[in-house]
C-alpha cells in the first residue's frame, strides 16, 4: 500500500499539532476513519476517539464530514529540559542507591 500523503504534502513539517477528538460520529465509523487516514490515535479514558493531528489532518477529517474538536495545541518541541536528568544527577542517584552494597573493588 502506498503512502496516502504525497511528498509535497509532507515536505513542510508541521510546527504544531493538535489533540483532537471526533464528535457527533458513531465510534466504529470514527475509528475506521482514523485508521484509514493513518492518524496518530491516542488512548482516551472516556472512550472517545482521540487523535494527535496536524492542521492538514484536521482539514482532511473535516472534508470527510467529521466534526473535529481541537482540545490542545501540541507544538513540535523537545522534551522540556526540566524533565531531563543531568549526567551528574543520574550518577549521583545511582551511587546513592547502591551505597553500602559491597561492590567489585571493595567499595
Amino acid at each position: 500500500m502506498a503512502s496516502r500523503r504525497t511528498k509535497t504534502q509532507t515536505t513542510q513539517a508541521p510546527t504544531v499539532r493538535f489533540e483532537a477528538t471526533l464528535g457527533a460520529t458513531p465510534y466504529a465509523k470514527a475509528i475506521i476513519a482514523a485508521a484509514a487516514l493513518d492518524l496518530d490515535r491516542l488512548p482516551d479514558s472516556k472512550g472517545k476517539v482521540k487523535l494527535l493531528v496536524s492542521a492538514d489532518d484536521a482539514r482532511r477529517l473535516l472534508e470527510q464530514g467529521f466534526e473535529v474538536h481541537l482540545t490542545a495545541a501540541v507544538p513540535v518541541a523537545p522534551l522540556a529540559q526540566n524533565l531531563v536528568m543531568s549526567d551528574a544527577q543520574a550518577t549521583n542517584w545511582l551511587e546513592q542507591q547502591v551505597k553500602g552494597i559491597r561492590r567489585k573493588g571493595g567499595r
Binding site: 522534551l79 522540556a80 547502591v98
Partner: protein, 500 residues
C-alpha cells in the same frame, strides 16, 4: 525526570562493573538505525547452568519515557534486596527478600531498558511526541517504523492500528523484522530460554496478552495464523476468523494477568485492566504476540508467554500521559507489575530440582501431567491454582530449612519420574512422608488461608496413598480441593515391580 540514552547506557555499564556476579551487560548484535549500540542487562544470582528466563523490554515507543527508567530502577531494587536481605516495598505492596532471592536464584532475568535509543534521543532533542524509530523511509519525507508492528507475526496485514503507509505512526515497515532494534528483541528471544516476555508501554493502565489480530477461540485448532495470507500489505484477516489458543494457555494468560493486576492494585489502588490486545484495538506484528507465536510457527522453539503492559493513566493531556512531570508513582506501579510477572514465572518444583540436583529435567513428567491432564478439567485447574497460590510461600519456607529442603527434594525425586507412568503407585509410605512434610511446613506458615489449603492437600494425600498414580491423577481431575472425595476410587493392588 527522565534519563537520557547515554545515562541509561551508563547505568547498565556501572551496574555490571560494580556487581559482576550479579549483572552481565550484553551488547546486542544490531546497532540502531542511527548507529547506537544497544545493551541488555542479564541478571542472575546463585550458581547453576542454563535456566528459564524472563525478558523485560521497554522504550519500544520513543515517547513512552517512563518505562526505560522504571526498568533500570527495578534492576537496582533487585540487587539491593538481594545484597542486603531487605524487602522491596512499593507503596503498600511488599515483595519479601525471600521472594526476591528465589526469583533471582531460579531464573535469568533479561532487561532491555531501551529498545529504541534513536527514538528516545529524538524525543529529548527534537519532538517529544515521536513514537517510531528513526528509519529514513525511501521515496517519502516521512521517517520511522513502528517497532511494535514490525515483528514477524501476521506481519503486513494492515488493519486497525497497523498501517503499510510510511507516514503513519503505526507503519509496519517494508518487511518483517526490517528494523535492527526489533531484531535485537528477537535475538534475546532466540538466545535465552524465555518463558515470559513483556514489552512495557504507556499508557492506559492495561495488562495485555494475545491475540491482537483476531478474537481468541479455543475450539478450532485449525484456525492458526500460520495459515493466514500475510506479508503483502494487501491481505486482510478473513471475516469471522478467530485465532486458536489452547485452553490451558488462555487460562495461564488470564491467571498471570489477574495476579499482576492484583499486585499493582496493592501498591496504591490503581486498577489496571487485563484483556486481550484486540480489545484495545486490532494490531499485527506486535512484539508481545510475536513472543507467544514463535512456538506455534516453529514447534521446536520454547513457548513464551508474551505480555504488553500499558503503564500509567490516560489523562486529559497526552503529553502528561506519556511523560508526566513526576512519573514516580507510575514507575512504582510498573515495577510492581514487572516483579509480579517475575514471580509468576518461577516454578517451585523446578527450583527445588535445580537447588538439589542441578537440573530440573526429571520433573518434566509433573509438568506434563499439570499441563495436559489437570488443566483439562475444572477440578484439576483448581488444584493447579491452589499450588500456584501456595508455592512461593512454601518454597521460601523450604529453602530456609536445609532438612526440609532435602526432605522435599527426596520426595519429589522419588515420586516425580513415576507420575506419568501408568502402572506406578503412590505408595502408602510416600503418602506418609508427604503428610509429615506438609505438617512441618504448615507449622512454619503463618497465613491462615494457606494453612487451610495445606490441610486440604494433607487430607487428600492421606486418602490417595496406596492408589495407582493414574487413580491419583484421575481423582484430582474429578474432585476439586474444596470437594470431599467420593469413595469411588478403590485401592489398587500394587504391581509386582514399582516403577520409579
Amino acid at each position: 525526570m527522565y534519563r537520557t540514552v547515554r545515562q541509561i547506557d551508563s547505568a547498565t555499564n556501572l551496574l555490571s562493573l560494580f556487581f559482576p556476579n550479579f549483572f552481565t551487560r550484553v551488547r546486542l548484535p544490531e546497532t540502531s538505525v542511527e548507529g547506537r549500540a544497544v545493551y541488555a542487562l542479564q541478571i542472575r544470582a546463585g550458581g547453576g547452568g542454563a535456566r528459564r528466563a524472563v525478558f523485560i523490554a521497554g522504550g519500544t515507543h520513543a515517547r513512552e519515557l517512563m518505562n526505560p527508567d522504571a526498568i533500570i530502577e527495578l534492576a537496582i531494587d533487585l540487587v539491593m534486596s538481594y545484597s542486603n536481605g531487605t524487602d522491596i516495598r512499593y507503596g503498600a505492596k511488599t515483595f519479601t527478600a525471600d521472594e526476591v532471592k528465589l526469583i533471582l536464584e531460579a531464573m535469568d532475568i533479561w532487561l532491555l531498558p531501551c529498545v529504541n535509543p534513536d527514538g528516545r534521543n529524538y524525543v529529548m532533542t527534537v519532538d517529544d511526541m515521536w513514537r517510531k524509530n528513526r528509519r529514513d523511509n525511501p521515496g517519502t519525507s516521512c521517517d520511522g517504523v513502528d517497532l511494535n508492528r514490525n515483528a514477524d507475526v501476521v506481519w503486513g496485514v494492515a488493519q486497525g492500528q497497523t498501517s503499510c503507509s510510511p507516514c503513519a505512526e503505526v507503519y509496519c515497515g517494508p518487511s518483517a523484522f526490517s528494523e535492527p532494534e526489533g531484531r535485537n528483541v528477537k535475538y534475546v528471544l532466540d538466545t535465552a530460554q524465555v518463558v515470559s516476555f513483556v514489552d512495557v508501554h504507556s499508557y492506559s493502565e492495561l495488562i495485555l496478552y494475545p491475540w491482537g489480530h483476531a478474537p481468541t477461540q479455543s475450539t478450532d485448532p485449525t484456525q492458526r495464523f500460520t495459515g493466514l495470507p500475510t506479508g503483502t500489505c494487501t491481505a486482510s484477516i478473513p471475516t469471522g476468523y478467530a485465532e486458536y489458543m489452547p485452553p490451558s494457555d488462555v487460562r495461564r494468560f488470564q491467571t498471570v494477568a489477574h495476579r499482576i493486576v492484583d499486585d499493582i492494585a496493592a501498591v496504591r489502588g490503581r486498577h489496571y485492566t487485563p484483556e486481550t490486545s484486540l480489545t484495545l484495538y486490532p494490531t499485527t506484528g506486535t512484539q508481545g504476540d510475536y513472543a507467544y507465536a514463535r512456538h506455534i510457527a516453529n514447534p521446536g522453539l520454547q513457548k513464551t508467554y508474551g505480555f504488553t503492559f500499558e503503564t500509567g493513566p490516560s489523562l486529559s493531556d497526552a503529553r502528561e500521559s506519556f511523560h508526566p512531570a513526576d512519573p514516580t508513582l507510575v514507575k512504582r506501579d510498573a515495577k510492581a507489575a514487572m516483579l509480579a510477572l517475575l514471580q509468576q514465572s518461577v516454578c517451585a518444583i523446578e527450583l527445588i530440582g535445580i537447588r538439589l540436583f542441578g537440573a530440573s529435567s526429571s520433573f518434566d513428567a509433573l509438568r506434563t501431567v499439570r499441563d495436559n491432564l489437570l488443566a483439562s478439567t475444572a477440578a484439576g485447574r483448581e488444584w493447579i491454582a491452589l499450588f500456584e497460590r501456595a508455592q512461593f510461600v512454601l518454597l521460601s519456607a523450604v529453602t530456609r530449612d536445609a532438612k526440609l529442603l532435602k526432605a522435599a527434594g527426596d520426595l519429589l525425586q522419588q515420586i516425580a519420574p513415576s507420575v506419568g507412568t501408568a502402572d506406578a503407585m503412590f505408595a502408602e509410605a510416600d503418602a506418609q512422608r508427604a503428610s509429615a512434610l506438609l505438617k512441618k511446613l504448615r507449622a512454619k506458615v503463618k497465613i491462615p488461608a494457606l494453612q487451610r489449603d495445606m490441610e486440604v492437600v494433607g487430607q487428600r494425600i492421606n486418602q490417595l496413598g496406596g492408589r495407582s498414580m493414574q487413580q491419583v491423577i484421575e481423582s484430582l481431575m474429578r474432585h476439586k480441593p474444596s470437594q470431599r472425595k467420593s469413595g469411588t476410587v478403590k485401592k489398587a493392588a500394587a504391581p509386582a515391580i514399582r516403577r520409579r
